[in-house]
């Protein structure tokens, strides 16, 4: 398969077929917690997209140049979470210096991302899926970054769809026991059912 075709399959796979929130169940806490209003959903989505892309690249270097040469793969979880936590801190400081307006938009969401399992999840998925494969050197880095970025797009897409639904739900006559989270879960179930329709869009193994 051509390189471009592989990239397209990775992207479509991460955005639609295996949507990180609705099919893989990664990053549900922010999905349910921050999706009440569209602006905050968009802000959170952008911040996650940014951190996921960065984390995919940085954890690839950590994996290939630290964990594999020193035979420390069993410490992957500890190494990755430390890298992600310091990356989030670093990103926050850089944004604060470079662009105060962006910082005021994303600021409150950035610390929350450390414990967003979608970020650690994409790093581990990248390592499992690409790093052991043989190919052109650097190919696995490219694929990891593409998967990280696409997963971020998929997360933002799911956040936006959900926030639109929930703004409407606020005005709907919902039975008392279902108010708040339960009805949001049922709406998410219907959305996830719709996303099942994308199954088969990319071949098995992508």
């Amino acid at each position: 398969m051509s390189l471009l075709g592989q990239i397209a399959f990775i992207a479509i796979g991460a955005i639609l077929v295996n949507n990180f929130v609705l099919q893989r169940f990664l990053g549900l806490c922010p999905y349910m917690g921050v999706s009440r209003r569209t602006e905050s959903a968009l802000g959170m989505g952008m911040a996650v997209m940014f951190v996921m892309t960065m984390a995919s690249a940085v954890t690839w270097f950590v994996y290939e140049f630290l964990l594999v040469p020193f035979d420390l793969i069993f410490l992957r979880t500890v190494a990755y979470i430390l890298v992600i936590a310091s990356l989030v801190q670093l990103v926050e400081m850089i944004i604060q210096k470079m662009s105060p307006s962006l910082h005021s938009a994303l600021g409150i969401y950035l610390p929350l991302i450390t414990t967003n399992c979608a970020v650690l999840g994409v790093a581990i998925l990248n390592a499992d899926r690409f790093c052991s494969s043989e190919g052109i050197p650097g190919e696995s880095l490219l694929f990891s970054v593409i998967q990280g970025f696409s997963a971020g797009i998929g997360f933002t897409l799911a956040m936006l769809l959900m926030s639109g639904t929930r703004e409407r739900l606020d005005r709907a006559p919902v039975p008392r026991s279902f108010q708040g989270l339960p009805i949001a879960f049922i709406a998410a179930a219907l959305m996830s059912m719709a996303f099942l329709g994308f199954t088969g869009l990319v071949p098995e193994g992508h």
Binding site: R24, A85, T115, L120, I124, P182, S192
Partner: protein, 196 residues
């Protein structure tokens, strides 16, 4: 007092149904009761160890870097669980997959470290961890019972519904969201009836 620390995690402050924490594993691994029980026990073990350890060292941690410190403590215990499952329970390890390392970012564990273990003594931290761990495990198992019975017609891999075609959708991702939503509503309904 300790009895209160223990029982609050099971119903009144159930981590999944009431506090809505740890939702990712509650949805992802509840396609069979075995997986749910395995995940519940693994997370409870990490919760107990990290609560105990953080309660012991709470005096030495500078408050500005406490979150990274807690994460390192939690991650070390998660590595223990990962290695144990890989060595002795390979089948369970394979079906839980990605969600074993993701116990690190399970917000129940970090939440209890921040809200409870870093403030209270060792004994109450242990009781708190046991109660919260049990509440988390029960919530996972309850969701898994609904999904496995309706979606596969089995309970703990034994066929129980032989005259009904299972509804596959309950095993698939939408079924997880649907079951958890309905269970949460049922939980709310029971609590409201109890208070009124």
């Amino acid at each position: 007092m300790n009895a209160g620390e223990f029982t609050k995690g099971i119903v009144r402050e159930n981590p999944v149904f009431v506090l809505a924490l740890g939702l990712c594993p509650a949805l992802a691994v509840t396609n069979s009761v075995q997986n749910a029980a395995g995940m519940g026990l693994a997370a409870s073990f990490v919760l107990l160890c990290s609560n105990l350890f953080i309660s012991l060292i709470k005096g030495f941690i500078p408050s500005r870097i406490r979150i990274p410190c807690y994460i390192v403590v939690i991650a070390s215990f998660v590595v223990l669980v990962e290695l144990y499952l890989g060595a002795y329970q390979p089948a369970l390890d394979k079906s839980l997959g990605l969600f074993v390392p993701l116990i690190v970012v399970n917000c129940v564990i970090l939440g209890r470290a921040e809200a409870f273990a870093s403030r209270k003594g060792i004994a109450s931290s242990i009781w708190d961890a046991l109660g919260m761990g049990l509440g988390f495990t029960l919530a996972l198992v309850a969701t898994a019972v609904v999904r496995e019975v309706l979606g596969n017609g089995t309970l703990w891999n034994r066929a129980i519904l032989s005259n009904m075609r299972p509804a596959l959708i309950m095993i698939l991702p939408p079924g997880a969201l649907l079951s958890l939503g309905l269970l949460m509503a049922a939980f709310n309904w029971i609590r409201e009836r109890g208070t009124s």
